[in-house]
């Protein structure tokens, strides 16, 4: 399945019932240099839209929301030692966590790549 996107600039990539989640290139550009990432532990449950992780740049802290409901499978602990990965490779090695999707219908609420590109264009 191809990537889906939230209005809050998370991406989600689903394979089977497990999804990988990160923030978009637009998001990392807006944040600037990422200096700290706080990740959820495996096993934690989130509802769609809950605060699931924190990403901080020199100047600000931001929440990363769970794009869908589910249970955390694996946090990307590489980000704890090397938070700059979020800037360097936001859509690949800079992923935040994987989660087991509990309600796949929620994916229908999200934007596809083209819709997200239009959305970002509108933000200027």
């Amino acid at each position: 399945m191809s990537k889906k996107f939230t209005k809050d600039h998370e991406w989600i990539d689903v394979e089977g019932d497990v999804a990988r989640i990160g923030i978009t290139n637009y998001a990392q550009e807006q944040l600037g240099d990422v200096v700290f990432v706080e990740l959820p532990e495996a096993g934690r449950q989130f509802q769609q839209g809950n605060d699931a992780a924190v990403v901080e740049s020199v100047k600000a802290a931001s929440e990363v929301y769970a794009p869908v409901s589910g249970e955390i499978v694996e946090p990307n602990t590489k980000l704890e030692d090397d938070p700059a990965l979020v800037n360097q490779d936001p859509t690949k090695s800079g992923w935040f966590f994987t989660m087991k999707v509990s309600n796949p219908d929620e994916l229908n609420d999200l934007m596809d790549e083209a819709a997200y590109a239009d959305y970002v264009k509108e933000l200027g």
């Binding site: 600039h9 600037g32 020199v58 100047k59 600000a60 802290a61 938070p83």
Partner: protein
């Protein structure tokens, strides 16, 4: 993902309505077009549309300033000249009645850091005061400027005349600042830290002050608005100079342990709690002839329930403004007033207020970050050594 805390709101307490962010029309400095051309990300700050960062980003701009030279547009700050009503007299003793700093002792061209205090000793603003002959040159914070100038004009009516100067103000900061600036203004090489002079440049009068808000050696250059874009371009043409936004200005001043008005100091803090008594000479502590002097004098002999300190979190998580500070027995002892990530140290740093018994450097404390206690300790400031040029041979 949405921003939950932005440290650069400029929304200082005591601001008049016209200078609050989100108001309909933001003011622009004479360098606005240049910021846009340079690709700056703009943000409302103290009623102005100001550059928060350029292409290098906050981290890159910060490190560039520490290594070479950074150019800051600080034209939003308030500049004014204070004249004695009687032209044969000195305005310094008149102005000294409003601040705890030593003003009459200033030599010609000398700069003093001081505060405007209210009757309770609370800080209305902090400012730089320079003597030129029998007049004073004042530079105050953007968010406070209209209140400051009204306060000064009212309290000194009949004794002094305040002329608010609508001029641009540039800061050039960093180890290469002198080398860059003296190519155009040779006189700057004769200044030491906290000294200022007038310099003629293409028929206009510039005021050059060797001071700043980064902990580095550097200068602030006051110049006519019309000349500012051309002069800024001239400085930026030197490879050593990069434009620096408010983001790095904030991280640089925090590393230098310098207060941000409306965050680290305000009317609820006197210079005693704020650990600014180094700026109050013994003569003023004894004569007690400034607003709030008796309150300040009392506080000096009291055990303080709030004292400004440096704080070093032990992990990697930055502790932002408002973070609660607990002692090791989980009792609340204060709050962080400025906190973030120090690019020069690649670690989080903060300043805040704790009760006096917890203020000694080395004291272990806990910072409550997103509900979880994080270990930290009190530390002396600055976090990064000042590089001021103290004497000039």
């Amino acid at each position: 993902m949405t921003n939950s805390t932005i440290d650069l709101d400029g929304n200082n307490k005591g601001t008049d309505a016209s200078a609050s962010p989100g108001s309909q029309s933001l003011a622009r400095t004479p360098l606005f077009d240049m910021h846009v051309q340079l690709g700056a990300k703009m943000t409302p700050f103290a009623g102005y549309d100001m550059p928060v960062q350029y292409g290098l980003g906050v981290m890159g701009e910060h490190l560039h300033t520490r290594e070479k030279a950074g150019l800051f547009d600080v034209s939003h700050m308030g500049q004014a000249q204070l004249f004695p009503e009687d032209p044969d007299s000195d305005v310094a003793p008149v102005f000294e009645a409003l601040v705890p700093g030593g003003i009459i002792s200033l030599k010609d061209g000398g700069i003093r850091y001081t505060q405007l205090t209210n009757q309770d000793g609370g800080i209305l603003d902090d400012l730089m005061v320079t003597r030129f002959g029998n007049t004073l040159w004042l530079v105050v914070n953007a968010a406070c400027k209209s209140n400051d100038f009204a306060h000064i004009a009212q309290l000194l009516a009949g004794k002094a005349r305040l002329s608010v100067e609508n001029r641009a103000l540039l800061a050039l900061q960093g180890p290469l600042a002198e080398a860059v600036l003296k190519e155009h203004l040779p006189a700057v090489a004769d200044l030491a830290f906290m000294q200022a002079c007038h310099a003629d440049y293409e028929g206009e009068k510039l005021i050059i002050s060797r001071c700043g808000y980064t902990g580095e050696d550097g200068f602030e250059i006051s110049l006519p608005n019309e000349m500012a874009p051309q002069f800024a371009s001239l400085l930026l043409a030197n490879d050593a100079v990069a434009p620096i936004g408010l983001g790095a200005r904030d991280s640089l001043r925090l590393e230098a342990g310098l207060c941000l008005y409306g965050h680290d100091i305000d009317t609820s803090t006197t210079p005693v709690e704020a650990d600014l008594m180094w700026s109050v000479p013994r003569r003023r502590r004894e004569s007690l002839n400034f607003p709030g002097a008796h309150k300040i004098s009392q506080k000096l002999s009291q055990k303080l329930d709030r004292f400004r300190v440096g704080i070093k979190p032990e992990g990697r998580a930055p502790a932002r403004e408002g973070t609660e500070i607990h002692d090791m027995n989980n009792n609340p002892i204060g709050r962080i007033t400025s906190g973030g990530f120090a690019p020069s140290l690649q670690a989080p740093i903060a300043m805040g207020y704790v009760s006096a018994e917890h203020a000694a450097p080395g004291t272990q404390v806990q910072l409550i970050i997103r509900g979880k206690p994080m270990l930290a300790h009190i530390t002396s400031m600055p976090f990064v050594e000042h590089k001021y040029l103290r004497t000039k041979s």
